[in-house]
Structures are given as structure tokens and as C-alpha cells.
């Protein structure tokens, strides 16, 4: 019976009103308490609000749980009937600021009396919100943490309310329990790219991960389905969904990881010849026996028809990623970024090797030349406009120690924003841009990336450019930078 509720959560169409209603009805029907997870920051928001004489605005994307938090605070304040405009202990609750007609008036009133207002982030940017309010942005909350809490709760409900059967759903659950932290990492990657996944989307993601298939009868009968259609791995990528559903968070992100498509000869040989290499352990899974695969593989080796094993290969590559930790996704720098994030979160010092690698990448980007300098940072630019990729002059040479980071905390202990700081210039470092740095430092060319990254670097650079002297440069065969500093006096020009 819980699967039926879970399936409703997984309803891909975001028709909000009917969605909440249908789920509530099912909870009532089966007499199951609603799934709720404990969000630590609700208490701290409450405390802060009580101590302050300001009104509170809870903002965030739709489906972020704003109403949920308002309801919690309403109860804490001893409110009776929770509805829009309700008052509890002298505090007025506005449940949906978007729907309010006289928005400006409400904001004015909220400066004088205490209000708690839930507002989608977008609508607020139409108003000048000054320091008169406490503002809590729920998108500055760790989706990975929410995911982990929610998944534990859902797995607990399944254990409690569903009976185990030999079917694809329970195979998914078994697999999920083994690879949970790896899936959590995928959501963490969204966090690291500041692509917040709302509570509602997390529900959809988890429901789809477990139940998969579009078939409505699946969860009732728990039929034996073809593993290729609804196994956990392909469900995570949303491969069972329609293209429009797949283009939403977090599936859109999962698709972009190329998981199952990215591989190497070495990995593919490991899969294909696992039996010969006595390495079968790594292929073992809950979905099918290996004999089935070997039979198809032998045929493929005989006649070269790759379509026979294509789906199996995708499955196994994903299996190697999730179960055995092979790095088969687009990012090569996730672990390093995670380490940097943790270091900064704990207020520790960043390793010099990371700064040096960033210096190397920035030097290559700023100078438009394949230099090998990593101990100094060269701020270079073209003689013409700053959009030109090849630099002619060096504006400034800085020691690598000038590279610094700033960590800005969010609502919970797992959310944070990393900024790269060099002198007065500041830039948000997400996983994508960190990956860009890493790859440039490894020798990739700028043109192999989306223009977006280069533009972001150029905006950062423009904050660093101040011009007094003229420093020309030359790059030698080993990629070392030689400088010629010229003093441009009023009546004399000389080499310094």
C-alpha cells in the first residue's frame, strides 16, 4: 500500500493542488502517518524569529517546503486552524505571497506588525526588500542532506508497510541500500553546482528510482519486468521517463553525467572478459545471472553485433560506478572538490597544491598561451579589448599565496558557497568551474568547453585589471614566462 502513495509522489506532472490532495487522501485511506523529516534549521529559524522584532520572509523555489515550515512555526506559536491569513500569538501568516493582490501594502504592514510570509524567490525580486525583514532562502539548504533524510524515512516505511516479494522493485531497493552514498553524491553534485533540488523533486526522484516504470499496475502486482527497463541505475537517470519529465531537475543533471556511456577500453575489457580474468565478482548484481550475459557476449564476439550487448554494457558501467567506485562520470574533480568543500567548511587551510593548480589554469586562461607557471599568477590581457583570448601584456604578477577562498554558510551545516578571492576580485566556484580549472590545468584546450566558463573567467579577470605599468612577456619552450617591465615616463622610456 505504501508503494501506491510513493507512486503518487512520483507523479511526474507537477499539478500542485491535486498532487497534495491525492497524497493526503491515500495516507488517510491506509491510515499511515504522513512522511515528515526533521529539518534542524526549522528550530533555529523559529528561535531567530522569536528573538527578533522583524517579520520573517521564507523564500525558495516552489516545492521547497515553505508551507511545511510555516505550519511547524504556526503550531509552535499555538495556532489553531492553519490557513492563509491565520494569526497565531499576534503573528499573521501569509501562505503564498504570489497570490496576494496588494503585495506592496502587505510588505508595508509587515514592517510594523509581525508577519511570516512564504514567497517564491522570483516574486521578491520585483520589490525592494530592505533590512526590515528576516529573510531565509530555502534554496540555500543542502539537497544531499534532505535526500539522505528522506530516503532513510522512505526505506523505513517500505520495511514497515510493504511485504518483500521477488520482483524488480525489491531488487532496486536491495541495490539502493548498497549504493546509497553514491546516489547521495550525485545529489551533492547538484548542490555543488548550486542547482538546488527541492523537496518535491526529491520525492519524485526517490519514487522513480525505486518504482521506475511508467506502468501503474507495477507496484500493485510487482511484476517481473525486463531489468533493462526499470533497474535502479536507469531509473536514476530517468531513462524510463518522457523527455519532458527527464528535462527537469535532478534528472536533467543525471543525464548530463554520461553515466553508462563514458568508458575506456580497459573498463570494457574488464566487463567483457570478467570470467576469463577471474574477476566475476564485480559484475554480480541483484537483477540477473551472468550466464545470460555471457551467452549474448559470446554471440557478439562471434558476429560483432554490438547491439546484442549494448544495454548490458551500459548497465555494467553504471554498476561499476555505483557499486565499485570506478570513476565513469563526466567529472574528474568531484572528490577533490568535496575535500576542498569540507576543508573550507571546517575552517581549515586549503592545500597549496590546489592553489597551484588553480594558478596554472588561470595563467593559461589569462595569457591564452600554454604556459607551465604555477608558483606565480600572471594577470595578462590583450592590447585591444579584453574579449581577445591571447594576451599581449602582463598587468600584474602575483604570488600563488594571493589566491584565497571564502566560504559562506547556508541554512544547514552541509550547505555552503565557495568563492575564489584574489585581491578585490571574487568569483563563485561551483563544481563545473572547478572541473574546468582542473581540465585546463591538465592540458585541455579552452575551445573544448562551453563559452560560459570562459566568459565567467573574463568577468573575474576584469575585476583584477588596473593599469599603471607596461609589462611585456615571452613564453619560452618549457612554458616559462619571461617578463620585460617597462617604465613609461613623461620624457623617458626604459626597461626596469
Amino acid at each position: 500500500m505504501f508503494f501506491e502513495i510513493l507512486h503518487k509522489y512520483g507523479a511526474v506532472k507537477d499539478n500542485r493542488a491535486s498532487y497534495d490532495e491525492k497524497v493526503s487522501k491515500l495516507y488517510d485511506k491506509y491510515n499511515i502517518p504522513r512522511i515528515e523529516i526533521k529539518l534542524d534549521f526549522v528550530d533555529s529559524i523559529y528561535e531567530e524569529f522569536i528573538k527578533s522584532d522583524k517579520s520573517l520572509i521564507i523564500t525558495g523555489s516552489a516545492g521547497d517546503g515553505k508551507t511545511f515550515i510555516l505550519r511547524k512555526i504556526f503550531k509552535k506559536l499555538g495556532g489553531a486552524e492553519f490557513k492563509d491569513g491565520a494569526v497565531a500569538s499576534g503573528v499573521t501568516f501569509v501562505l503564498d505571497f504570489t497570490a496576494v493582490e496588494n503585495k506592496y501594502e502587505i510588505l508595508q504592514k509587515a514592517k510594523k506588525e509581525k508577519y511570516i510570509i512564504a514567497a517564491n524567490e522570483g516574486i521578491l525580486s520585483d520589490f525592494e526588500i530592505e533590512d526590515d525583514f528576516l529573510i531565509k532562502d530555502l534554496s540555500k539548504t543542502s539537497s544531499a542532506k534532505n535526500f539522505s533524510l528522506l530516503l532513510d524515512k522512505i526505506l523505513e516505511y517500505i520495511d514497515k508497510y510493504e511485504e518483500e516479494k521477488d520482483c524488480i522493485i525489491f531488487k532496486n531497493i536491495k541495490t539502493l541500500k548498497e549504493v546509497k552514498s553514491k546516489v547521495e553524491d550525485l545529489i551533492r553534485m547538484c548542490d555543488y553546482n548550486y542547482e538546488h533540488v527541492t523537496m518535491r523533486r526529491l520525492f519524485i526522484f526517490i519514487a522513480n528510482m525505486i518504482l521506475g516504470s511508467k506502468s501503474k499496475t507495477l507496484y500493485k502486482k510487482c511484476e517481473k519486468e525486463d531489468f533493462l527497463d526499470s533497474n535502479l541505475y536507469s531509473n536514476i537517470l530517468g531513462e524510463n521517463l518522457t523527455s519532458s519529465a527527464r528535462n527537469k531537475r535532478p534528472f536533467e543533471f543525471m543525464q548530463m553525467l554520461s553515466l553508462g556511456y563514458k568508458s575506456s577500453n580497459e573498463i570494457d575489457e574488464l566487463i567483457l572478459y570478467a570470467d576469463l580474468k577471474q574477476n566475476e565478482e564485480i559484475l554480480k548484481n541483484h537483477y540477473f545471472g551472468l550466464k545470460e550475459f555471457y551467452a549474448k557476449r559470446d554471440k557478439f564476439l562471434e558476429n560483432g553485433d554490438y547491439s546484442l550487448i549494448e544495454e548490458y554494457m551500459k548497465f555494467f558501467r553504471r554498476h561499476l560506478y555505483f557499486k565499485h567506485g570506478f570513476n565513469l562520470i563526466r567529472y574528474i574533480s568531484f572528490d577533490e572538490y568535496k575535500e576542498l568543500f569540507e576543508t573550507l567548511k571546517d575552517g581549515k587551510k586549503v592545500k597549496k597544491s590546489i592553489k597551484k593548480e588553480i594558478a596554472l589554469a588561470l595563467n593559461r586562461l589569462f595569457l591564452g598561451s600554454f604556459v607551465n607557471e604555477r608558483d606565480d599568477l600572471f594577470i595578462g590581457t590583450s592590447f585591444k579589448n579584453s574579449n581577445e583570448r591571447v594576451a599581449n601584456e602582463i598587468i600584474e604578477k602575483l604570488d600563488v599565496r594571493e589566491i584565497d577562498f571564502e566560504f559562506v554558510k547556508g541554512n544547514d551545516d552541509e550547505y555552503g558557497e565557495i568563492y575564489l578571492k584574489i585581491k578585490n576580485a571574487k568569483m563563485l566556484i561551483d563544481l563545473d568551474i572547478y572541473e574546468f580549472f582542473k581540465r585546463i590545468a591538465n592540458g585541455s584546450l579552452v575551445n573544448s568547453f562551453s563559452n560560459e566558463f570562459f566568459e565567467r573567467i573574463m568577468i573575474f579577470k576584469s575585476q583584477l585589471i588596473s593599469e599603471d605599468e607596461l609589462i611585456l612577456f615571452n613564453v619560452d619552450e618549457r612554458g616559462r614566462v619571461e617578463l620585460y617591465e617597462l617604465e613609461l615616463g613623461e620624457d623617458y622610456v626604459s626597461l626596469q
Binding site: 516552489a62 527541492t198 592590447f383 585591444k384 579589448n385 601584456e393 613609461l488 626597461l495
Partner: protein
């Protein structure tokens, strides 16, 4: 536009073989030989005005003959001679002198011109601007003079000059340029622009001021000035020709669709309006002996000033309105203060620049059985802007343009 007899009276001092086009659009609007030259010509006049005073009749063009010779004519041995003769006291060594010359040469605006009169420096300050003698006006075609007159006649001209002076007045190259060359002046007559007041003049000046007010670094000012100046020359031509013109802009599509068809159609209509305004004028004032082929220079100018900004023929052989990344970037920088709803941004492009990209704006201008193609056009714009880092998407579907 001016009445024909009045035009003849006013224009007689210019010794022209045609008064019709100057009476309607102004003195010589020719296609630019290079995307930067109109702005360069414009800034040259501004520079001269700041030093010698602003006039609408005459200009003292500032020349730097020695600099031009050193940079664009001298070969290595001649440079050596020059150094020995005149620069030993000013530069530490020949190597330093050569390094400076080589650096300045890298600042040359790349052109097809092999002749010295078509060679200029990318200006980082007023001191790097100069005028070259070009009797046939192949490079400074007078369009820059018209741009100057437009800005001069706009309401915020003085404010523009003050801001330009603050942002553009000095560069580290100034000393070097002074050491290399002195300046000479040559007084010449300025071109002729019919209307004393026109809304386009104010729009142009406003956007130039916005560039100066923005965070755009000084070294990029000239680059963005060139884009906006070229856009407004075309905008001016169309505004004179037709009150209610607009651009239907395709965001480059792989396939042919109705946006492309509409863009081509409106492109042709706009071109036609330039021809028609001239034809109507000839009829109205019974002008005899007018060679119709003369219209084509203005017609071409409409296209060529927009080239690389808002016109092109990628993937087809017919011209239409296409939005370039650079112009898009500038439109965002000029009009978005921190954050703006995407729909509002499209509305602004339509209201201010008459650019139709999305469905809402298209619906205001014409009827079609379906506007799905314009919705897709919007989507392509979002995709492009996302790549440029200008888009912030909320999970509830709200899309914002951010700087």
C-alpha cells in the same frame, strides 16, 4: 527631412552631385569599410571638440603624421635611422624603442586596407586617436560626423562629454605617444544632418552614457561603443524611412521555420521602406534626373551597419535579422540592473529597440496561425543566454536575466 529647395540652399556649399539623399538622411551614409571606423571618426571629432571647442559646422582634425610613419611605414632599418636621429634621448635603447613600436603595431585595428590612410590604433584614450588624410573618404566616410552631430544634438550631450572625459581621458600609453609624435591639425567642414531634433539622437546618447556608467572596463569602451554606434546608424536610417519599423530577429535555428520567413520578409519590407521614402520624396518635389541606383548605398548601409550585430545570412542565402552574442551581451549589460524577468527583458527589447523575438511581442505585430515558432525562438535565446551566463532558472519555471 528637408524640403528640396531648402536642402539645395543649405547643401550648396558641399558641392554635391545629389541633394535628395542628403536632404532625407544626411550627408553621405555609406556602408562602413570596417566595423570600428565610424566610431573612430566620431571619437576623433569629439577629441578635437574637447580641445578646440565643439561646432556643428567645422572640425579641426588632429593628425599625428610621425606616429603613422613610424608604425605603418618604417621598415626595420628605417626605424633604426629614426631612433638614431630623433629618439636616442627618449628611449633607453633601440631594443626598448623597437619593443614599444612592436607593441603599438599589435594595437592596430585589423583592416583589409593596405594603404597607410586606412590604418589606425585601437584607442585606449584620446591621445591614441588621430586623423589620416583620405581625400576620397574611403575610410572616414562622414558617417562618424553624422553620429557626432546626432550626439551633439541630443539632450544629454554635455553629460556624455563629461563622463567620457573621466573614463577615457588618459592611458599609460599617452606618454609613449607624446614621445613618439607631435600633433598637427587640419580644419575641415563637417557633414550635414537634416533634423535638429530626433528621438534616435537621444537614444544613442543615452546608451553611450550607459556604457560609460557600467562596469565595462575602460579598454572595452571603444569596442562596445562601436557596436552601439553601428546599430544606431541603421536604426536611424530605418527611423527616417518608416515610423513604425521593427526587427523580427531569429535566434539562429538549424531548420527553416516561420521566424526565419518572417525575419526575411520584414527585412525586405524595411529595405523597401528606405527605397520608398526616397521615391516619394522625388515625386513630392518633382526632382528630375535622380539616379535611382543612388538609393542602394543607403539600402546597403542599413544592412552593413548591422552586420555581425543584428543581420546576417547564416545557413541561407538571404539576409535577415540575426542576433549576435556580442550585441546580446551589450543589451543585457545596458538594460539589466542585477536581475530582470526574462519576459520583461523581451518586452524591453521590443519597446526600446523594436526587436521582436518572443511570442508576446510577435502577437502585437502580426497575425499567424500559430506562434509556436516564436516560442521556440525564445527557447533558443534562453539557451544562448545560459551559455553566456546570463540566465538564472527557478524550479517553478521562472526565468531571470541576470548580470
Amino acid at each position: 527631412m528637408l524640403a528640396y529647395n531648402e536642402a539645395i540652399k543649405l547643401l550648396s556649399k558641399y558641392n554635391l552631385d545629389d541633394y535628395v539623399i542628403p536632404a532625407i538622411f544626411g550627408h553621405r551614409i555609406l556602408s562602413p569599410s570596417n566595423p570600428y571606423f565610424t566610431t573612430l571618426e566620431f571619437l576623433n571629432i569629439i577629441n578635437s571638440g574637447i580641445i578646440y571647442g565643439f561646432s556643428e559646422e567645422r572640425v579641426k582634425n588632429i593628425k599625428k603624421e610621425k606616429l603613422v610613419k613610424l608604425l605603418f611605414e618604417c621598415k626595420e632599418d628605417e626605424l633604426k635611422e629614426e631612433f638614431k636621429c630623433c629618439y636616442k634621448e627618449k628611449f633607453e635603447s633601440y631594443e626598448v624603442f623597437k619593443l614599444i613600436i612592436a607593441s603599438l603595431r599589435k594595437m592596430q585595428i585589423s583592416t583589409d586596407s593596405v594603404k597607410v590612410e586606412g590604418k589606425f590604433l585601437y584607442p585606449h584614450s584620446f591621445n591614441m586617436l588621430f586623423h589620416n588624410d583620405d581625400s576620397r573618404r574611403n575610410h572616414f566616410t562622414r558617417s562618424g560626423e553624422l553620429v557626432y552631430l546626432m550626439v551633439k544634438r541630443s539632450k544629454r550631450f554635455n553629460e556624455f562629454i563629461e563622463k567620457l572625459k573621466t573614463k577615457f581621458s588618459s592611458s599609460k600609453w599617452d606618454n609613449v605617444i607624446n614621445l613618439l609624435s607631435s600633433s598637427e591639425t587640419k580644419e575641415e567642414k563637417l557633414g550635414f544632418l537634416p533634423q535638429n531634433e530626433f528621438f534616435v539622437y537621444d537614444m544613442l546618447c543615452e546608451d553611450l552614457i550607459k556604457i560609460l556608467d557600467s562596469d565595462i572596463p575602460r579598454r572595452d569602451i571603444f569596442y562596445y561603443f562601436s557596436i552601439i554606434v553601428n546599430f544606431y546608424v541603421s536604426f536611424y536610417i530605418l527611423s527616417v524611412a518608416k515610423d513604425d519599423f521593427y526587427f523580427v530577429v531569429e535566434i539562429l535555428n538549424d531548420k527553416n521555420d516561420n521566424v526565419r520567413k518572417k525575419s526575411r520578409e520584414i527585412y525586405r519590407i524595411n529595405e523597401e521602406s528606405v527605397v520608398n521614402v526616397v521615391k516619394n520624396y522625388i515625386q513630392k518635389y518633382n526632382v528630375e534626373n535622380f539616379e535611382l541606383k543612388k538609393i542602394s548605398s543607403v539600402k546597403d548601409a542599413h544592412r552593413n551597419y548591422l552586420r555581425g550585430i543584428l543581420s546576417g545570412r547564416e545557413r541561407t542565402n538571404a539576409y535577415r535579422y540575426l542576433l549576435s552574442d556580442e550585441f546580446l551581451k551589450l543589451l543585457v549589460l545596458l538594460n539589466v540592473n542585477k536581475k530582470m524577468k526574462f519576459e520583461k527583458f523581451l518586452e524591453l527589447l521590443y519597446e526600446r529597440y523594436r526587436i521582436v523575438i518572443g511570442e508576446n511581442e510577435a502577437r502585437k505585430k502580426f497575425k499567424l496561425s500559430t506562434f509556436a515558432c516564436f516560442r521556440n525562438n525564445e527557447k533558443r535565446l534562453i539557451k544562448r543566454m545560459r551559455l553566456l551566463g546570463f540566465i538564472e532558472e527557478k524550479s517553478d519555471g521562472d526565468i531571470y536575466v541576470k548580470v
